[in-house]
C-alpha cells in the first residue's frame, strides 16, 4: 500500500484548531487585494498530521537508522547536543535585525567559530555567511574575480577545474562569468601536472581543487600545482568537501590555497536534513581578505558587533537577507567545542583508518579498486566494470541491492572518470562491525549476481517502493497533487 498523501486525509471542515489563534479570517482591506478562494491546503487533525509525517519519516534511510557510506558527503553522526543547544529559546527567538545589545550571546559564538575555523584551515579571515557549499564556492570565485578586477587584470576569463571535480565547481565558475577548462587526472589519481602547465596562462583566473581529491587520494604535488598557478597569476580555490580527511593534520592555507569553503554539514557534523540546510563558510588568505562576503562578526574590547560595508568597502557584498544559516553555525560551534583540539585530529585519523580498512577488505574480497597503489583518504573507489562485463550487473544494481541489505548505497557513478564506480566514505563514527557487515553484503551481492543476475537487477525488494520509472517521471510531469489526480 502506498502511503496516502496528506491531501487524501483531508475532509472539508476538519481542523487542527488549537494551532491557530481564535480570530476572524476577515480583514479590513479593499476587496481588490484579496483572493477569491482559499488556497489548496489539507484540512486535517493534529493527530493525522503527526501520524502522517511520522510514518513518512519511517520511509527514509538516515544516519540515525542506517550505515550511510555516501562518498563525498561525510555522513557522520550528528550529535544530539548540537541540535538541542542550537534550539534554546533564547537563540530561536532572536530577531536577525535585533540590536547587538540583545545578541551578544549569539555573536560571541559566531566570533569564536570564525576564529576556530580560521586556525583549522590556516587562513587569515573567515566569513560564515554562505548558506551551502555551492554558495561558498560562489563567494570564493566572486572574490577571485574581485581580486583581479581590483588589480585591473581584466583578461583573466578562465577557471581551471580537474575532470574529477564536483559538478558545482564548473557550474559556479559559469555563474561567476568564467569559462571552464578541464584538467585531466593522471593514472595515479593526481592531477596531470603537464596538462596543468600547458593550460595555465594570462587567461587563468584560478583553479578549483579538492584535496584529498574526489578520487579519494591526497594529491601529493599540491605545492607544485600551487606554484604553477600562482606563477601564472592565478589563484587557488579549495573545495572543502573532503576536509574531514585532513582535519587537524593539514591546513589548506599551508598547501597554498588563497580561498576555501568548508561544508559545515560534512566536516563539522551539522545535519544534512534530507537536502539541507548546509553551511559553506569561506576562509581567505592575505590576497582576498578585503573581499570577504558580509556580514562578518568583529570584536571590540569585550563587545561583539557586525562588520558591514563601512568596515569592508571592497567586500563582494551580501549573499543572503541576514547572515546565512545562523542555527547551523551554532550547531557547528557546539560540535567543535565538544571535539576540542585533540578531537580534531582523531576525526581525520579514524575517518582515514575506516576508509583504508574498508578498502583493504574489499580488495581482499576480490573487488577492483580504482587506485590500488594509493592510500585511501577518508573515502575510496571501487570499480565494478569487471562484474558488469562478467555478470551483467552494474554499479547501480549493487547500490540497490545494498539497500535491501540495510545499507544506504555509496555514491554511484561519481567521479565520472571511473567507470561503474562506487565512492565509499565510512566516516569516523561507524564501528568496525558495521564496516565488516558492509563488506559481507558486497560479497553476498556478488554471489547472488553469479547465481541469479536477474534477481540482482530487480532490487530493491524490501523497501517502500521498487525501482522507479524515472523516464515517466520526466516525460509525464506530475509535480503537484490536484484534486482530480487519479492513481
Amino acid at each position: 500500500m502506498s502511503e496516502k498523501l496528506i491531501f487524501e486525509h483531508s475532509r472539508s471542515g476538519r481542523r487542527a484548531s488549537a494551532q491557530a489563534p481564535l480570530a476572524e479570517t476577515a480583514v479590513d482591506l479593499p476587496a481588490k487585494f484579496l483572493r477569491g478562494s482559499p488556497p489548496l491546503l489539507p484540512e486535517v487533525s493534529e493527530l493525522q498530521t503527526v501520524r502522517h509525517y511520522t510514518r513518512l519519516s519511517q520511509k527514509n534511510f538516515s544516519i540515525d537508522t542506517h550505515f550511510y557510506p555516501l562518498g563525498s558527503c561525510t555522513m557522520k553522526y550528528n550529535p544530539r547536543a548540537c541540535n538541542q543547544l542550537a534550539m534554546l529559546p533564547g537563540f530561536l527567538s532572536r530577531h536577525p535585525l535585533g540590536p547587538e545589545s540583545h545578541g551578544q550571546g549569539f555573536l560571541s559564538c559566531m566570533f569564536e567559530l570564525q576564529e576556530m575555523l580560521r586556525g583549522v584551515t590556516g587562513m587569515r579571515a573567515v566569513s560564515l555567511t554562505p548558506m551551502a557549499g555551492a554558495q561558498g564556492e560562489f563567494a570564493g570565485v566572486a572574490m577571485i574575480r574581485a581580486y583581479h578586477q581590483a588589480r585591473d587584470d581584466n583578461d583573466r576569463n578562465e577557471i581551471l577545474v580537474p575532470d574529477a571535480a564536483h559538478g558545482t565547481n564548473p557550474a559556479t565558475a559559469t555563474m561567476c562569468g568564467y569559462s571552464v577548462r578541464e584538467i585531466p587526472t593522471g593514472k595515479d589519481g593526481d592531477v596531470d601536472l603537464e596538462a596543468l602547465k600547458a593550460a595555465v596562462g594570462p587567461h587563468t583566473a584560478g583553479i578549483m581543487l579538492t584535496n584529498p581529491s574526489t578520487v579519494g587520494v591526497f594529491d601529493r604535488k599540491i605545492r607544485e600545482m600551487s606554484r604553477i598557478v600562482h606563477d601564472a597569476g592565478g589563484l587557488l580555490y579549495y573545495d572543502g568537501a573532503n576536509l574531514n580527511a585532513i582535519l587537524g593534520k593539514v591546513a589548506p592555507g599551508d598547501m597554498g590555497f588563497d580561498v576555501i569553503h568548508m561544508n559545515l554539514h560534512k566536516t563539522f557534523s551539522t545535519p544534512h536534513g534530507g537536502g539541507g540546510p548546509g553551511s559553506g563558510a569561506v576562509g581567505v588568505g592575505d590576497r582576498l581578505k578585503e573581499f570577504l562576503p558580509l556580514p562578518v562578526v568583529g570584536k571590540e574590547g569585550d563587545r561583539y558587533r557586525w562588520l558591514d560595508e563601512k568596515d569592508l568597502p571592497q567586500s563582494i557584498g551580501r549573499l543572503s537577507a541576514f547572515m546565512g544559516n545562523a542555527g547551523v553555525l551554532l550547531r557547528a560551534y557546539v560540535y567543535i567545542r565538544l571535539l576540542g583540539r585533540e578531537g580534531m585530529e582523531r576525526v581525520s585519523e579514524n575517518a582515514t583508518l575506516g576508509a583504508n580498512y574498508l578498502m583493504k577488505r574489499l580488495q581482499d574480497a576480490g573487488f577492483t579498486l580504482a587506485y590500488p597503489e594509493r592510500r585511501a583518504s577518508h573515502e575510496l573507489i571501487v570499480t565494478l566494470q569487471k562484474e558488469k562485463n562478467e555478470l551483467g550487473v552494474t554499479a547501480m544494481d549493487f547500490a540497490k541491492c545494498l539497500l535491501d541489505h540495510g545499507f544506504h548505497a555509496p555514491t554511484t557513478y561519481f567521479p565520472l572518470l571511473v567507470p561503474e564506480c562506487l565512492l565509499i566514505e565510512p566516516t569516523e563514527s561507524e564501528a568496525k562491525e558495521d564496516l565488516d557487515g558492509f563488506v559481507e553484503a558486497m560479497i553476498a551481492i556478488r554471489e547472488q549476481a553469479k547465481a541469479d543476475p536477474e534477481k540482482v537487477k530487480g532490487a530493491p525488494y524490501t523497501l517502500p517502493v521498487r525501482r522507479l520509472d524515472d523516464v515517466r517521471a520526466a516525460r509525464q510531469l506530475d509535480l503537484r497533487w490536484q484534486p482530480d489526480t487519479q492513481d
Binding site: F7, L40, T65, G275, Y357, D364, R467
Partner: protein, 453 residues
C-alpha cells in the same frame, strides 16, 4: 569527545588488516612539510554538560525582549508538533534523496510541499526550495533572463519598494551575468509604485519587472495593473511575496489578466523560528511552461516496477551534477529540513488557520500603528493600504529612541533611516498574532514616556 566507536583492539585489528604499523602511517602520502604544527586556535574539549551550561548562559543573554521588528523575518507561533517531528532523525540526518527507494519519506513530503506552495501562490510548479528569500530572488532574476529569450536587453526593472537587501543580494549573485538592474522610485506619498512612473519605460526592451507584495514598507501595490503593464512590454513579472499573506491576498498566479511568471520569497513565516536569520528557506514557483528554466531540485510522481505510486527527483538534466558548467544554477544542497517544518506547519494550520494568523497579525499591526500614531509627533509615513507591517515617522531621530526602548526590553521596530534616509526619522513596525493588546499598550506607554522627555 570525537564520537568515535573504536576500541584499542578494533584499531589494532584494523591496522593489522591494512598492514600498517600505526594510524600515522596512513598519512604517509602527505608531504611532511605540509603537516600542521599546532592548532592553538581550538580550545581543549569540553563535556556535553559544560557546553550546555555555556550555551544556556549565552542564549539567556539574548532572550526576553518583546519584539516588534519584521523587515523580512516574522515572529509567529510555531505549533509544538512542527519541530518535534522535523527533528526526528529520519528527516534530520538523511541526505538529499538521490536513492529514491530509500528516501520516499522526504520525497513524498517535498511533493506535498510543492503542492502547497503552488496552491498558495496560484502557480503550476514549485521547486524543492532555495536558500532564502533574497537568494531566491537572485535565482528568479537569472531564470527570467533564461526564460525571456525575446528580450535582448537583459534589463530588470526593480520597483522601488522591494526589500533593499534583496535588491543588493540579487545584484551580487547576478553580477557576472551582464544583467542591468534599473530602479524605479516609489511614490513618496503612497509608498507604492504609481502607474504613471512606469510610462517612462513603456515600449522599452525589458526582461523582467520585480514587484514585492506587500512591499518592503508593508504597502500593498497595484499588482494587477503592474503585471499587465509588464506583459504589454513583453517583460516577465517576478513576484516577491510573503507566503503567510497569501492566505488572504490575491495569489500572484491571479495578478492581472495572465498572472505573474515567477514567484519567490522567504518561507520563514511558515513555521521557521527567527533564529538570528537562518536557516530559513526560499521558495520559487512558476508556470509549467518555464519549468525547464527553473533552478534547484524538483520532485515528480511516478510508478515503480510493480506500478505502485512513488516519488523521485526529476528534470535533473537542468542541474549541476549532470549539466556541470551548463546547469541552470550551481545550487546543490538546499534547505530541505526547513521545507519539512513548513510542510508540517501548513498541514496543521490549513487554509483557515493560516488566514487567521494572517488576519490577526494584520489587526495587531493596525492596533499598534493606531496606538502609536495617537501620540504627539508620531504619524504614518504612507497613505496607501498596508498589510501586516507599517512605517511610522517620529519627530526625532529613531536610533536613540530604539536604544531606550531596548533597555526596557522592547525591540521597537526597524530603523529605516539607514536604508531610506529620504523618509526622515522613520520606523517600520510589525506586530504578529503573538502580540497581545497588553503588549501593545506597554509599547505605547513606554514610547509616550520617552517622547515626553
Amino acid at each position: 569527545m570525537p564520537f568515535i566507536p573504536h576500541t584499542d583492539d578494533d584499531i589494532a585489528k584494523m591496522l593489522a588488516a591494512i598492514g600498517a604499523g600505526s594510524v600515522e602511517d596512513l598519512f604517509d602520502e602527505i608531504p611532511d612539510n605540509l603537516r600542521l604544527k599546532s592548532l592553538d586556535c581550538v580550545p581543549d574539549a569540553v563535556s556535553e554538560m559544560e557546553i550546555a551550561r555555556l550555551m544556556h548562559d549565552r542564549a539567556r543573554m539574548d532572550s526576553g525582549a518583546l519584539n516588534f521588528i519584521g523587515g523580512g523575518a516574522y515572529e509567529h507561533h510555531i505549533p509544538a508538533a512542527v519541530w518535534e517531528i522535523t527533528t526526528r532523525g529520519e528527516y534530520y540526518t538523511a541526505y538529499t534523496p538521490y536513492q529514491a527507494e530509500a528516501s520516499q519519506g522526504t520525497l513524498q513530503l517535498i511533493y506535498e510541499y510543492q503542492t502547497m506552495m503552488t496552491g498558495l501562490t496560484g502557480m503550476e510548479v514549485s521547486n524543492a526550495s532555495m536558500y532564502d528569500g533574497a537568494s531566491a530572488l537572485a535565482e528568479a532574476c537569472l531564470m527570467a533572463v533564461r526564460a525571456n529569450r525575446a528580450a535582448k536587453s537583459r534589463r530588470i526593472l526593480f520597483l522601488g519598494a522591494v526589500n533593499p537587501v534583496y535588491r543588493k543580494v540579487a545584484e551580487v549573485i547576478c553580477s557576472a551575468q551582464k544583467i542591468e538592474f534599473i530602479d524605479l522610485p516609489y511614490c513618496p506619498a503612497g509608498g507604492d509604485c504609481v502607474m504613471q512612473s512606469l510610462d517612462k519605460y513603456s515600449g522599452e526592451d525589458l526582461t523582467a519587472v520585480v514587484v514585492q507584495q506587500p512591499n518592503f514598507f508593508g504597502v500593498l501595490e497595484e499588482v494587477g495593473a503592474i503585471t499587465d503593464w509588464a506583459r504589454a512590454q513583453n517583460a516577465l513579472t517576478v513576484a516577491v511575496v510573503n507566503p503567510m499573506s497569501l492566505a488572504l491576498l490575491t495569489p500572484p498566479g491571479e495578478w492581472g489578466e495572465h498572472g505573474a511568471d515567477i514567484v519567490c520569497g522567504e518561507g520563514q513565516p511558515l513555521g521557521i523560528p527567527l533564529s538570528s536569520g537562518g536557516p530559513y528557506f526560499g521558495f520559487l514557483t512558476t508556470r509549467l511552461s518555464l519549468v525547464r528554466q527553473m533552478p534547484g531540485r524538483v520532485v515528480g510522481r511516478t510508478v515503480d516496477l510493480d506500478g505502485k505510486r512513488g516519488f523521485t527527483l526529476t528534470l535533473q538534466a537542468r542541474e549541476q551534477h549532470i549539466r556541470r558548467s551548463k546547469a541552470t544554477s550551481n545550487i546543490c544542497t538546499n534547505q530541505g529540513l526547513m521545507v519539512t517544518a513548513a510542510t508540517i506547519y501548513m498541514s496543521l494550520l490549513g487554509a483557515e488557520g493560516l488566514a487567521r494568523v494572517a488576519s490577526l497579525s494584520h489587526k495587531r499591526t493596525g492596533e499598534l500603528c493606531a496606538a502609536l500614531c495617537a501620540l504627539p509627533g508620531v504619524e504614518r509615513v504612507f497613505k496607501q493600504p498596508f498589510f501586516h507591517e507599517v512605517a511610522i515617522r517620529l519627530d526625532r531621530p529613531v536610533a536613540p529612541l530604539l536604544a531606550q526602548l531596548a533597555e526596557q526590553g522592547i525591540l521597537g521596530g526597524l530603523d529605516l533611516s539607514g536604508s531610506h534616509p529620504e523618509l526622515g526619522d522613520a520606523l517600520l513596525l510589525c506586530a504578529t498574532e503573538t502580540k497581545t493588546e497588553a503588549d501593545i499598550e506597554r509599547y505605547r506607554d513606554l514610547l509616550a514616556e520617552i517622547l515626553k522627555t
